[in-house]
Structure formats: C-alpha cells, structure tokens
Symmetry: C2
Amino acid sequence: MTQLDERPAAAAATTDTADPASAWLATFEDALTARDVSRAAGLFAATSFWRDLVSFTWNITTVENPDGVADLLGANLDRVDPSGFRLSEPATTEDGVTTAWFEFETAVGRGRGLARIIDEDGPKAWTFLTTMHELKGHEEPRGVRRPMGAEHGANKSRVTWLEKRQAEDATLGAEAQPYVLVVGGGQGGIALGARLRQLGVPSLVIDKHPRPGDQWRKRYKSLCLHDPVWYDHLPYLKFPDNWPVFAPKDKVGDWLEFYTRVMEVPYWSSTVATKASYDEATGEWTVEVEREGMPLVLRPTHLVLATGMSGKPNIPDIPGMDVFRGEQHHSSQHPGPDAYAGKKVVVIGSNNSAFDICGALWEHDADVTMVQRSSTHIVKSDTLMDIGLGDLYSERALAAGVTTEKADLIFASLPYRIMHEFQKPLYDQMRERDRDFYDRMEAAGFDLDWGDDGSGLFMKYLRRGSGYYIDVGAAELVADGEVKLAKGQVDHLTETSVVLADGTELEADLVVYATGYGSMNGWAADLISQEVADRVGKVWGLGSDTTKDPGPWEGEQRNMWKPTQQENLWFHGGNLHQSRHYSLYLALQLKARHVGIDTPVYRLQEVHHLG
Amino acid sequence: MTQLDERPAAAAATTDTADPASAWLATFEDALTARDVSRAAGLFAATSFWRDLVSFTWNITTVENPDGVADLLGANLDRVDPSGFRLSEPATTEDGVTTAWFEFETAVGRGRGLARIIDEDGPKAWTFLTTMHELKGHEEPRGVRRPMGAEHGANKSRVTWLEKRQAEDATLGAEAQPYVLVVGGGQGGIALGARLRQLGVPSLVIDKHPRPGDQWRKRYKSLCLHDPVWYDHLPYLKFPDNWPVFAPKDKVGDWLEFYTRVMEVPYWSSTVATKASYDEATGEWTVEVEREGMPLVLRPTHLVLATGMSGKPNIPDIPGMDVFRGEQHHSSQHPGPDAYAGKKVVVIGSNNSAFDICGALWEHDADVTMVQRSSTHIVKSDTLMDIGLGDLYSERALAAGVTTEKADLIFASLPYRIMHEFQKPLYDQMRERDRDFYDRMEAAGFDLDWGDDGSGLFMKYLRRGSGYYIDVGAAELVADGEVKLAKGQVDHLTETSVVLADGTELEADLVVYATGYGSMNGWAADLISQEVADRVGKVWGLGSDTTKDPGPWEGEQRNMWKPTQQENLWFHGGNLHQSRHYSLYLALQLKARHVGIDTPVYRLQEVHHLG
C-alpha cells in the first residue's frame, strides 16, 4: 500500500521551514492568500514552467515564466482559492535543484504537486506541477471509504449486488441514459470507464469487438507489449508481480476483460456508433449505435472518442492500386503471417508496424521486402527499457521508492518545452551502447534518424506518434538481409508488383500499407461531421515545429484529455501509461460537470491545423 | 510493494547485537552451527512453543518447552543445516516481551520467522515461529525474476504464449499427467493451483461446477463474505482498494473466475472425480473422472482434497423423514428463499447456515421457525471485525504497517496451546459492547454460549468449525420473534410436521437440516475407500478436549495442509485466509517432492479418531 494515492493524508506531511522548498511554499501560499498575483509570479524563475492538470485551470495546460504565471493566476486565483500547501515528504536537493513533493487544496478539490526550486536571487520555482486528484465531497470509495458490500440487518425489500447490476444493465441505454458515452473499449476506454464508475458518473463504454480485450487478441500472433509492465498498469488494480515484463497480447486481452468485469465498467461489446450529432440547445448528443446488429439511439451529455490515438488508417492513394491483382491491406487490417508462407510480400513503411509484420512474415517463411520511404528511428527494446524508462518504471525504481504513481507525476512534471533536452543525453547513451547494431543497419542501407533534434523516441511519440521502431528483433533481419530492403517512394502498382520511383520493381502477392494513421479528429469526421472535425482540429502533437508536428507551440498534446472547441466532445487514449494517468484528469473534468461544479476553462485549445 | 514476501532480501536486514533479540538469534545460531542441541534447547523458556511451517520438519507442527525443542532439533538439525539468522527489521520490546522478525536459511530453502523473547535467566524464546517461503534454486518468477514475456529476436519456430497455453490444455490429462490433482476448485483449490502453477509443478484443479466461482454464485442470493476484505486476499493478486469490506457472493465468484484465468491455473470445470485408488508400488493414484460427462482416467502422484473443510453434509436420521410429505433438504442444498413465500419452514439448527437461511426466508415472507438443539455462540459482524480482527486485518492495521502477509505470520505465531488465553479478553470486550443485544436474545429464550472456556468464535472455528453465528442481522429477527424459536431435539416427523422431544409440533411445508458437516475424511471415504478414510482419521480440530474436539492434544489442525497417514493424500481448505496462507506451505511440500528434495516428515500425524 505504498501507492502515492493511497497514502493517508495525515501520514507523511512535514513542514520544515528551514529548507528552501518549505520556505518557498509558505511564501507562495501567503501571496496567493493575499491575492497578490505579481508577488506570486515573482516567485518563479525568469525561465520557468507551471504545468497544471485541472486543479487551477480546468484544463491541461502549461504557462511559462512569471508573465505566464501572472496570467494564469489573474484568471483563476479568486475562484480556485488555493490553500494548505505543505510538503508531503522531505524535500531533497541535488545540483542546486530542490525537489519538493507537496499537497494543497482548492475551493473544490485536493491536489498534489511537484516543484523544482532553484536559487535565482532567492528560491524560485523552475518547474511547478499542480494536479487535482479528488473533488471535495466526491472522494472515491476506496480504502477507509470502501463500500461495506453486505447490507447488514433484515430487510424485506433487499436488493442484492447481482440484482442491482442486472437492473442497471437492463435499463442502461433505455430508461437510463449514460451521462458519458465512451466510444472505444481498448485500454483507454476501459481505464476511463473504471474511473467514471468509481466516481459515480453514469457512463457507458461501447466497442465493436465481441469481448473486451479483443482489440489485442485480434492482432498478429507474436505481438507483445513494447512497453514494460511497470509502465503499463491500469488504475486501481496493478498487474501481479509475476506478470511478464512484455506481456503477450492474449494475456493482455484476458486482463482487460477481467479488469472490465471486476471494476464493474458498464461495457457493451459488439456495438458500433454509426452517427452522432450535438444539440447545443439541450447540451446533449444524439448517438446512433448498433448493438449486436440492433439499432438504438443514445443521448449522452458527453461524448468521448477513445478509438485509438493513432486515428484512422492512412491509406495512400497510389496509381495502380485498382489494377493490382494480389491482396493489399493496411497494417491495421493485417491478419498475421499464417496464410503467407512462400508468398512474396511487400511491406510499405519502416516503422513499428512494418517491422513487426515483416518479422512475423519472415518467421512464417514469406519472402518479405520492406520499402523504406523515409528515415526511421530505431531503439532496441532492452536498451530503451534500461536507459529510457529504468529510473521511473522498473524493479530498480520500485526498490528506490518510485512507485508507478510517483513515476507518473515525475514524468508529468517535466515541461514539454524542455523535455527534449532531458531526452537527448539518454539517446546519446543508447546510440553508444548499441553502436555495432546501428553500424550494421546503416551498412545494410537502412536510413536511421534520432528525431529532428536528436531527442529520440519518446519525443517522436509525443510530437507525431510515428517514425520509430522499438526493436524486439526484426531489425536484425533487415541488417542480415533476411528481410529485403528497398528504398524510395512508391510510384505505382502493376497487376503483380510494386514499382518504386527509381524504377525498381518488386513482385508481390501481398502489399501491406504500413503507412500509419491520420489525426484522431478523423474519427469525429466519420462519426459526427467534417465540420466538427475541422472545428476541433488536429489531435496529438505539441506544436514543436518538427517533422509532422507543425507549430505554433502548444505546450501540451493537442486536444487530448481536455476540453476541445466542440462542446462536450473529448479525445482520450494513448499508451497504457497515458490511459492510466490522464484518465484521472479526464474523469475529474467529467465528474465536476456531472455534479454541477463550475468549470471555466482557462486557455481553451486553439486550432491551427485541421488534421 | 510493501508485501513482506516482496521485499528484496538485502533491504531491511539489521543486526543490532545490543538488543536481546539479536543476541538471542546469534547465540541460537552458534548453538545450531555447533550442533549443540541441548544448548539450543536451553535458549527456550521453561514454557515455550516452537511452531514450524515446513522449514525444519517438512510438517506443520508445534513442539513445546526445551524438551520438545531438543527432540525437534535432534531429529532434524543435521539435515536442515540452518544458518543466516538475522533480524529483518528492528526488534521491539513491550511489557517485557521482545518481538523479533527474522530471516534464516536452511540447506534447501529460505525462511522467515517471528520470535517473542522474554527474560528468564537471560533472554529465552517464549514463542518461536519458523516458516519456509522458498526453495533454493526454485524461486518463484516474480519481481526481478518475473518472466520476460516477449521473446525478442527472430525465430522461425516461435511458439506464442497462446499457442503454448493451448498445447498445454490439449495434452493435459492425456499425454501429460498432472503431478498433483486437486479435487475441488473453490478458493482453496484455486489458491493452491495458483501457487503450484507459479512453482512450475504440473497440476490440475477439477471442479463439478460449470465455471470457477460457481461455488459462490450458486449459494443463496443475499450471501456476502462474513470475513472482511483484508482477511480474504488470495495469493499474488490482492483485491483492489475499492473492494467491498464484505464482498457479495457473485462478485467473489467473478473474482475467482478471472483469478483462475489470470494466474493461468489449469482448471477443468464440469468435472467430477468418481473413484480413486493409490498404488503403493508405483506411488501413483488412479483417479476416474468425468469431464463434461466423458469418463477418463488421471494418474497423478499426489491427490489433494479441497472439497470444503466442512466436509460432507451431516444429515440426521430422524424417524418419519420417510413419511414427511413436504420438501426437506440439507442446508448445503438449500436453493434460496424465492420459492417459499407464504410457506411454513422449519429450520433445524441454530448456527451460521441456519441463521442466514432463516433471515433470507423471512425477507421473502416465509413463516419461519428455527429449532435450537444446543447453545450457539453469536458475535456481531461489526464487533468481530473491529475487536477480533482489527489489529491484524483492517485499514487501521495497514496504516500501522501490518500488511496481510505480516498479519498472517503474526497470526501463525500464536501457539494454539495458549491461543484461547489471548482470545478470551477480546470476547469479554465483545460481550460488554453488545450486552443489550445478548440480553434481548436471552429474553427471547435463545441459548447462548461463548465456547467451553469462553474463548469465542475463532477457537470454535479451529476446534470444531461449527457452533457459532457471525450476526449480519438475522439474530435480531429471533430476538424480535419475527423468526420463531423452538428448542430441543427433534423426536420425529409426521406427514406435515416436525415434532420435538417435548411434544411441540411444528407444521412444515419445508424442513431444512442446518445440521452441519462431518469430517473431511468423509470425502476420502466416498472417493477412495472407508479404509483410507479410517487410516487418515479425523480432519480438522486441535484435540482441545472441548465439545466436538476430543483430545489428545494435537497442537495443530488435524491433517490439514500436511502429510497424512495415507501416502500422497492431502487435505486443503479453510476460509480465504487459510486458503491463502497455508497453500504456500502445501505447495512447497509438493514442489519439494516434485523436484526430488528429501522430505522426511517429523512427527507424522497420529490418528486418534476416525471422523
């Protein structure tokens, strides 16, 4: 029970005014209490970052420097009425930076934060993270607040737990409308559904597959998670300590199904949403769904798209696709290698999906060619786990007291603006460690990159969600020539082949388009309208002005887990880590609206790109 | 990750020779290393107890006083070769008793222990618990040893996790025989199955119900666990912290079903064992089973009966049972109250099942009479939870650092010989707290008791597994006369009524025999032979020479979780706490045999009673 969010509030709090963190917090609170915005802003370093996860701003947003802090406080301070700042554990100082874990409260909620204090004419905040973890009066029924379960006494109108669940199932979507409809029941939808259930927000998660977990079960058979177990926990219920480091897809599928039932997530399988529209007058969505083929209409107040952060399959429009006589499909539709032994397969693309598919096809004796159209960033899985994640998510981290919850907040506390600077040295280490491997890849003609600024995989993930491969073995097949490598753009297809721009002709029985995905607002275009998709704009990316992540600078993931320009439309998703961590803030935003708490949004997402 | 069994061995160990515990441990180890049995025995108090859970004795046994210690060491010391005794956390002293958590190892395993040291001409052990938690070279793949899951690299003969599981399912019971067959897949069988799986012992759990968890689902609908959540965890995977204090039966059923899947317990549903015999020459059981109606023969080396610690239903033989025209069944067969609204029901018995059934029938408007044949011990659930378990199993205990694992060892460290002395004051407190309630029960004519020696519910459970009711509300119905009370033995049944010894005639449409259960060796009689059942003798009970627990003193639960007089036949079960904790020691005994470690049993169970 060392989880950060399970610690009794009274336990570890300390206030040692001698250390710079305590002094800073006390001064900060004084300024806030006095509503002295400029004094509070003056406690931040000239270059500084305040990231807020819904506690001050009802948004996920980062402001920079004293000016930004003054703007945030000017807009929110009176309403938020923050107080009770105190260290939740002794602060530590290293290399002139004091790291301080703290707790605080606002008029409506309780928060946790992490500050890094430096000396710049006195103690100043360099990074400052504030997060809300619960709403006052709406605390989750956990630990000392857990439900009794048994209803003691004798009661002639007793309704059992099972009867309650059955009655709920029978009325949901008919007499009872979900306040929140979550479209997509992968790890994102399930994690959010669990949090909403726990918070008592009437919700429903729908998914097209027959069973929770099928999103994983139905993928190619050798698939395992590329992220390690410590990074992958869902909320409330951690994987047991015999869980594999990289869990096989079917085991993940079983866990998700188990989790959905145990957490009592209202979940409709074999259900697709076909059309949705929002009525501004009533503030309600009309969503047409088909549940096991039967049409019905749902009327939720909020609509969450959790259909995959990778968005809709990006299928290129290549001349000759209509004349090609073999099989062709997008990587997301690839059924796995079993049917392709002895076949010639051309895989267009050279990122994660392309490598995984090439590797599995090679294992099943297909004749595989990968077409690399642009450079790829590759990191070996073990190396990434060790150097990239090991300090936060590993047995080593746990032994050092860094629980998953603490790691999530440390991770969240690093401002996106400067995160690449922290990332670069890690990737320099990785490159050095696996230099032989990279030399062999280049010798095989493979074009490598490390991101526009050398900041590596995680920044690529945050900026564009593509452009990399976490190597679990298939890269060696390219280095060895077992999987053939072709390079350049695809010019056209013939009846039997793929022809590249340089004239190279690759015979093919099967063409796999491992060509990535569009922005998630493409889902909104399909389900709602192009108008709404355009109003919301591009989803994902930081505005880093790097490849596939055009500026201006956003400071946060565009449109993720926070209000969008379309009222009551939300986007949720990401990897298991993000699904776990950010589902909390999305759930609190929805809960607050459900119970009528005023939720003015500071710095609502602006739209600079349509998709 | 504060679980005791998850703590890295290197972490918290301290050796402070200034405290009496460290000094005692060092002296004890010196004596053991010198093989000086009498010096080691001399370190125990004149009245003292050494309880060993398989680490020294390959048995679950308690020896008493220096003589007993000398006997244990004389028989086992050379083989066990114990060493490395050290405190695992600083010892604490209160009221002259120093409590010391320690670690140690033996020739084949690693152990944990808990000693209470008193001053009796120098530091002497008063209670001394030694437990084995792992076998050297057979450590469980958990934490830093967890499996990788993904098999990195490219491999043309790759077999996925799912394919492995499917192949295993296809061959188990045919080409591949389980080394251990566990009959009964309730919480006991499942917990043991999970541990054996984790230890790599080829095993199979069979159960008659269609799905794991049906053992709970199929019981009466208002049933909730009578023990609180902190006491009820299964091994490896704790209930999440939103789990109800007293979980409803269907929720427990769902948990067991998914636990079985997630822990990959080999489990055959809809399977009954019909006949078993042991071949001493081959050391193998022949077990006839029917799996979904299809007969097949299994040949396990070990047979574990986990069919319920309450054993076979005890149905009285009452004159007139053959002429009674209404419905009659044992409480274990009771389908719940729904069909009995408006009916006259006589429930014979006044323990847990009787009260639960009477309460549910009353809630469904049956006309219910309870027949009390002998006195009953009643404790209110809230009171029991607070006073009886709160120091070990509660949020309060967790906040004080008493994890479930630690609580289990504290519990295990209290010698059965003197446990009643620790229990009595708790029950005195309970009686005082709920005096009004007890007065009302007595005023209603109900006969109460507190155990032969006033030691209350837990001792009754350990001694006889019966004679009490944990009140969740139905007792008030008796106090209020809503459930009618009749008293005395049943003389006979007529066509339409139950007639008591005093001539009282109770009209009945339904008679429920809430008359308890026989000893678990009754299962062996049915499945194997009466001869084997008699050879094994009575199961459960301590030999306390109290009602339904005849002497001589055994010192441990008879025949539970340890070798019996029938080679390779084992009994497993108990409540969720016991299923969790003792499954470890049973699993280690089976694992040791599977890998050929010498397991001479010290003080094999003697048989004094047949059932």
